[in-house]
């Protein structure tokens, strides 16, 4: 019943647009996206990375995806099953999308846009027109766009048994092509694997034959899994007793941690460095998750706690004139003694930070905490605090941590430190989430007044959220300080707070696995695809908007959130049906009482 009413409201609210206009609209949207990535400079940048050497670059892949996407959207929103109309509308939308790019190329040729738009270089012009010059290249864009859209539409309408393996195959080719450096490094152990690597890759990247092989293998694998293996495996799993299933889950987590522990050894120190950064963001993400995800306190000054952890570690351990040991009788501590002090300092700052904003709610809280965070940065950067904190020049010469005679100097060593810290923090966060305090936080998040009426001490609960969230950030800051061995106030920008916020939103607010997923996607990927580094924040901004619109619960929502969403969906269905009945009532006075 609810599904029927939902459909009827949609029709009521949005009168079906004529198919032609809709097709043109889809084409225009995809064309604008293509022009946007060209103008902003993403296209020229990613064009430098090959997926298949000398055949397809990542930039080409992006354009291909846009063309096929236009067709896919048209096909999935079809109003008719007539093949000819459908094919024609796919062709039209793709042609429009390609046409906009062709128009950009024409504009680049006719007008001198380079002094204003720095990305519109002659190289981009060459890419856009495939080196064919203008009339011909433009025609290729339009025709190619149309054909790709047709292909995309056809794929969308293909039965799932074909569509899914093809997608998986393509995705595998893209992954193996884009991350070729990394995969090649990992494949240098053993003669057999080495031979496989030689077969798949040339020096610069994936060879066409290798790409074909990967496509066939992954596509075939997906087909075999879907048709032969999935059913028996699922049945077998269902037959296990709950304790066995639980053990299975534990084993999965153990394997995951084991892979994480081995990966940097296998894949080299660069990946170790990236994973260490991801680990730091996971730590911070778990801290902010306590504040935002569980307690609903949107904190944009989170970076302040990170800074406190880093500066406390630096002051206590550094071999510099700003260290406490150099101008007081306080002894210079080892890292292991300084870290707990740094965490406690962050907790204290967190609580002090929380006290003034206890009564501030919602949007105002976000701005107030951002102001506090900025105040911390301005003070640290100023000459006023320079005698203690080093001012803009920062504090240098922070020693690396030592275990006995062994110095954790390598990024991979520090990665293990981060891994241990993250695992410990994850355990704490998990226990907190399921504790009385965690439930109190969630109650405060959902409705402060009701929570207070239920006897929850708001002051205590909120201050604990700030303090414990700050503890995680302080731990991350402490590791950050020894990672860089020198810290500057410019490392503690508001951008970090936004970064952490973005990752818990992408992962799913209030969800621990979500933090890991979010940090991997938002911090790890841009590090690995170094070209993207420059556009990381564009990516974050877009991710925030798109996630809020499309999937506000995140990529890996928490169990509680999933339940809430399901309940909310049912509720909104009821609302929608009521609304529909009101709107559906004819506006004559005689009919109104029946509608109410």
């Amino acid at each position: 019943m609810s599904a029927v009413s939902a459909i009827s409201t949609v029709r009521l609210r949005r009168p079906a647009r004529p198919p032609l206009r809709r097709t043109v609209g889809v084409g225009l949207v995809f064309g604008v996206v293509a022009v946007y990535i060209a103008v902003v400079g993403i296209l020229p940048l990613i064009d430098a990375r090959w997926i298949i050497v000398n055949v397809v670059s990542l930039g080409d892949a992006a354009l291909i995806a846009i063309g096929m996407g236009a067709g896919a959207v048209v096909a999935s929103r079809r109003s008719t099953s007539d093949f000819r109309t459908l094919a024609a509308s796919c062709l039209l939308s793709g042609a429009i999308a390609g046409g906009l790019l062709a128009l950009l190329a024409v504009a680049m040729r006719v007008l001198d846009l380079r002094p204003i738009f720095i990305a519109l270089s002659p190289a981009l012009f060459k890419t856009l027109t495939f080196g064919l010059g203008l009339p011909l290249g433009g025609v290729v864009l339009v025709v190619g766009g149309a054909l790709l859209a047709l292909l995309g539409g056809a794929l969308t309408l293909a039965p799932i048994g074909i569509r899914k393996p093809v997608f998986i195959g393509l995705a595998c080719v893209v992954i193996f092509g884009v991350f070729q450096e990394l995969i090649q490094i990992m494949m240098q152990y053993g003669a057999l694997i080495g031979a496989l690597r030689e077969a798949l890759y040339s020096w610069e990247g994936l060879s066409p034959l290798g790409a074909l092989a990967i496509f066939v293998v992954s596509c075939g694998g997906a087909l075999v899994w879907a048709n032969l293996l999935r059913e028996p495996v699922n049945r077998g799993f269902a037959r296990l007793s709950p304790t066995q299933q639980g053990r299975f889950k534990t084993a999965r987590i153990a394997v995951f941690v084991l892979i994480l522990a081995i990966l940097p050894v296998v894949a080299g120190s660069y990946i170790g460095q990236v994973m260490m950064l991801v680990g730091l963001y996971i730590l911070m993400g778990m801290g902010l998750n306590l504040e935002v995800g569980l307690a609903g306190l949107l904190d944009l000054g989170f970076v302040a706690f990170f800074a406190v952890g880093a500066y406390a570690t630096a002051i206590l351990t550094a071999d510099s004139p700003y260290a406490l040991a150099s101008y007081t009788s306080f002894p210079s501590l080892s890292y292991w003694a300084a870290m707990p002090i740094a965490v406690i300092a962050s907790i204290i700052v967190g609580v002090l930070f929380g006290v003034p904003v206890l009564g501030v709610r919602g949007d105002y809280l976000a701005v107030a905490t951002m102001g506090l965070g900025e105040i911390v940065r301005v003070v640290v950067q100023s000459d006023m605090a320079a005698p203690i904190l080093g001012g803009a020049q920062g504090i240098l010469q922070i020693p690396k941590p030592r275990i006995g005679g062994f110095e954790l100097a390598d990024p991979v060593d520090l990665f293990y430190l981060t891994l241990v810290a993250s695992a410990f923090a994850a355990y704490c966060a998990w226990r907190l989430e399921n504790s009385r305090l965690g439930r109190a936080w969630m109650a405060v998040r959902d409705d402060e007044d009701v929570a207070q009426a239920l006897g929850i001490n708001l002051v205590k609960v909120k201050l604990l959220a700030y303090g414990l969230g700050a503890a995680f950030a302080g731990l991350a800051g402490s590791i950050f300080a020894v990672m860089l061995t020198s810290i500057y106030p410019s490392s503690f920008q508001l951008l970090i707070s936004i970064n952490v916020l973005a990752l818990i939103i992408v992962g799913g607010m209030g969800s621990l696995p979500g933090v890991v997923v979010g940090a991997t996607v938002l911090v790890g990927l841009p590090e690995l695809l170094r070209e993207f580094g420059e556009f990381r924040f564009l990516f974050y901004g877009a991710a925030l908007i798109i996630m809020m619109r499309v999937k506000p619960e995140g990529l890996w929502p928490s169990a509680v959130r999933r339940r809430e969403l399901r309940a909310a969906a049912e509720e909104s269905d009821i609302d929608a049906s009521q609304e529909a009945s009101i709107f559906a009532a004819p506006p004559s006075p005689a009919a109104q009482p029946t509608a109410q």
Binding site: Y36, V355, V367, L464, A542, M548
Partner: protein, 364 residues
Amino acid sequence: MSDVAQNRAFLSKLSSFSRFTLVDVVLWGLRIGVVAVIAGGTIGTLVKGRYGAAQWVEFLVFGVTIGSVYALVALGYTMVYGVLRLINFAHGDIMMTGAFSGYFLASHFAETGFLDRSPILAILGVLAVAVATSTIIAVLTERLAYRPFRHVRGLAPLICAIGVSFFLEQTFRGAFGSGIRAYPDPKWQKDVIPILGFGIPVVEAVVVATALVSMVILYLIVQRTRMGTAMRAVSEDADAAALMGIDVNKVVVFTFALGGAMAGVAGVCYAFVFKQVYFFMGFTPGIKAFGAAVLGGIGSVPGAMLGGLFLGVVESIGPALFLDGIGITAPYQLRDLIAFTLLIMVLIFRPYGIMGERMAKKRA
């Protein structure tokens, strides 16, 4: 876990022991501290007598100049908040888009010498381009990013607005480069107008005049036109306004357009004063202008104007008057500190602002 648990136990003991005093002590400490800094600093500075009258006038004029720019930006925040109850976090960046687009025309005018030959026409042209760009971008952000959240409560709209802010900044960074671009600096802007024995730079006079004219126009639009009346009605009670036959959608678009236009003017003025444009320039003035809007009582148009001017003056005079007196080195680095402290103090102690109480009384 041990230190966390310890701290937890400690805190719970502390808060059950004297729950209200802990918070109150901190809040009162904050109040007294700020008052002490202001009073002590003022006395200290006046006793030292390091600054002459000319310098104070210079600070004041600069404060009024920058304050009128804040006021223009704050108007956008306050109007959008009044209509939608949304903090348009990206509003500072909309100001940046205006400054940037104006920059391209201004530098073209500077190259051709038009900026020196007929400055008024040139400024009007730059303003027109900036206003057009900012208005279009403001309306587009409303349509694409904010409209789907019209009836969503909670954190989602604000988070989306933060996303829009980043998206705009990074789009401009990608398209126009990350470097700081120097705004044209024609000779006539450096002249000084003598008034009552004090010299006032022409740029500042131009900025204040432009801002004043724009604010008067805005005030007339809000108070006198049909659309302005509809806007005030919606911000008073959106549902009742809809029942009276007002097209709320149209009003929201109009509000964003008006706010965007003011941000465009503000962007050009800001660039005139600071002589540079870059992609991140909108962020700090945006936050400060939000503070000004809250200070004036969010939702109130005259409040935003007053709040902006007040913030500008305090920020300009503050480092010399309050901080120099208590012997802080390089007080001018702490200008932002004063603005942010003011913002936080307002949010904590007087979230309804200066004009807010009167408005609340009027409505009740």
